[in-house]
Symmetry: C2
Subunit: 371 residues, 2 copies
Amino acid sequence: MAKAFVFNAQDLFDFMVRFFMKLGVPKDRAKITAEILQSADLRGVSSHGIIRLQTYYGSRLQKGLINPLANNEIIRETPASIALDGNNGLGQVSGKDAMLRCIEKAKTSGVAMVTVRNSNHYGIAGYYAMMALEHEMIGISFTNAQPLVAPTFGKNRLLGTNPIAVAAPAFSEKPFVLDMATSIVPIGKVTVFDKAGDQLPEGWAVDSDGKSTTDPKSVLNGGALFPLGGPEILRGYKGYGLALWVDIFSGILSGAAFGKNVANPGNLANANVGHFFAAMRLDAFRDPNEFKQDMDALFQQLKTAEKAVGHDRIYIHGEKEFELSDKYIKDGIPLLEQVVKSLQSAGEAIGVPFDLHTLGEKDLDPAHAGN
Amino acid sequence: MAKAFVFNAQDLFDFMVRFFMKLGVPKDRAKITAEILQSADLRGVSSHGIIRLQTYYGSRLQKGLINPLANNEIIRETPASIALDGNNGLGQVSGKDAMLRCIEKAKTSGVAMVTVRNSNHYGIAGYYAMMALEHEMIGISFTNAQPLVAPTFGKNRLLGTNPIAVAAPAFSEKPFVLDMATSIVPIGKVTVFDKAGDQLPEGWAVDSDGKSTTDPKSVLNGGALFPLGGPEILRGYKGYGLALWVDIFSGILSGAAFGKNVANPGNLANANVGHFFAAMRLDAFRDPNEFKQDMDALFQQLKTAEKAVGHDRIYIHGEKEFELSDKYIKDGIPLLEQVVKSLQSAGEAIGVPFDLHTLGEKDLDPAHAGN
């Protein structure tokens, strides 16, 4: 367990807005970026939240590697699709604009798809998929990312953890929100095990020979993550196929970088990340209320089913995250002490002090950070 | 190893056409159904091929549980989507018609999506996704299926092996064809291990307590398959989420059955299977040649990358299947002796003798049947 400090969500949001504005991001864009980063912290995906404020966004804005004033530009358009160029803007600003355009298109065409090339890390994929929910639509978002995953029978990092996010509304139940990396775990999880001196579970990752290993150091030093499924005997080639699918839709279809060429955040070059979005009106296919009632019925089938011995609950995707989000909005968001320190020094460096009142201290299991 | 007989692909196709016609299926529809069944055999997915001719299709046609004369009917339509009712027709006939309509829609709208409710087992999902390839489009197809998979922390069969298929063209390389069940293995694979008296690999399936087991009998008698990923530690809830996604798009969005209500092929009721299709014009997003050249480049990155120790090839999804298909068209398709016997007795029963000339015998590893 590690020491954490709890902060009010609005206070953290306001700090992030001040931080971005100081780095030249206009207020409305600073708010969008802060909101999407905070949505990750609220949903328990802290690896994609405020922890990256300086390490990814701040540092790249300061080096001129992200253009805070860039606008999405239409490259191609059909009645049900748009291909956009993000012009190396903030991934969140570009991504939110792209999904809004996708939803607008779907209003007239029934369904729509939008790609974005030349973008940057856009935070959690789930945020964009969830934007569709309030419009009585299903939302989808994919993005590619820096290479960390080895293909089946390979040993090098050739594909990103390329997430898939799908959100669909229910009636009385919480919406279905699948937001999953196509690797088994993120690389940050391996780092956590390494710092704790623990061995990894068998099947998460490979060493520099491409062999399954439980030693976190041999993964971090020249190894790679397994795709979902792990080794061939457990059909890891399916996870590899999902990662490829996401790269084809986000990277190749958009005209962005793909495979091993998606930039590492540390590189002094445009990341050229690619995103994919889709929106589908429920009433294009069915009466929306009937759809939502059937979603409830399916979830009830699952939740009331007999549990495996030793377990007392079957979850629907997104359910835990909605519960956590409610709790964090009410009680505050816990940040690990090391994260607080990094925010203090990042803020100090640019004259935006991290001087927030803490709501208290708590012990946090760092192994639960990230997804 | 088990004895197999080799038959000419065209001979097998012609037999299937005669078989279906005898059961009241019009010739053009018999050809469509035979073609899609054979595409599974050619691609090595023998679990979805001629082996089901009588066990699924023939038996249900004879019992009046599938209407061979049914037509797809439009329930809802927008510029980029159609919701169809299959009227309990053959899944292949309904599915091919639905994907053709989807491709036609995409020609004018850029992208399109089509759902089908009230259908039957449609064979391999990959066939429909691949239909898009010759139109310079990307194709997608999902279908739900009889319940065989337990949700994470559950123990009962609540979801189908709900496949995901995505096909995208390349330039000189073979197209990308992902066609994967969202379970680790199909139930047929467990049966093969049981018949051979072998133990299952750890992590494929659970017993009637919901506990991971290596005993095939305890899976077949009241157990269930694990979703892709397997147990929680290897993130099986992601595979569970993918299976749910497919059920939401194929079952709920279409208005078909879903979850545990998708009919078992043995039930004397309409199966009410649901399908989902999407087609995306490459030129809606990018110059198609640039897209295809980047596909080649990505595949070359992967194929020429360093191999894990003990391996000498990294595959792209669909590649093995294209090679096998070429070989089987040239050399004939091997069928296990027990499959030949079942075809002989099924043919005899309806007066369509399975009197094909065999091209020879060979030994086949039954463990390689199915995907």
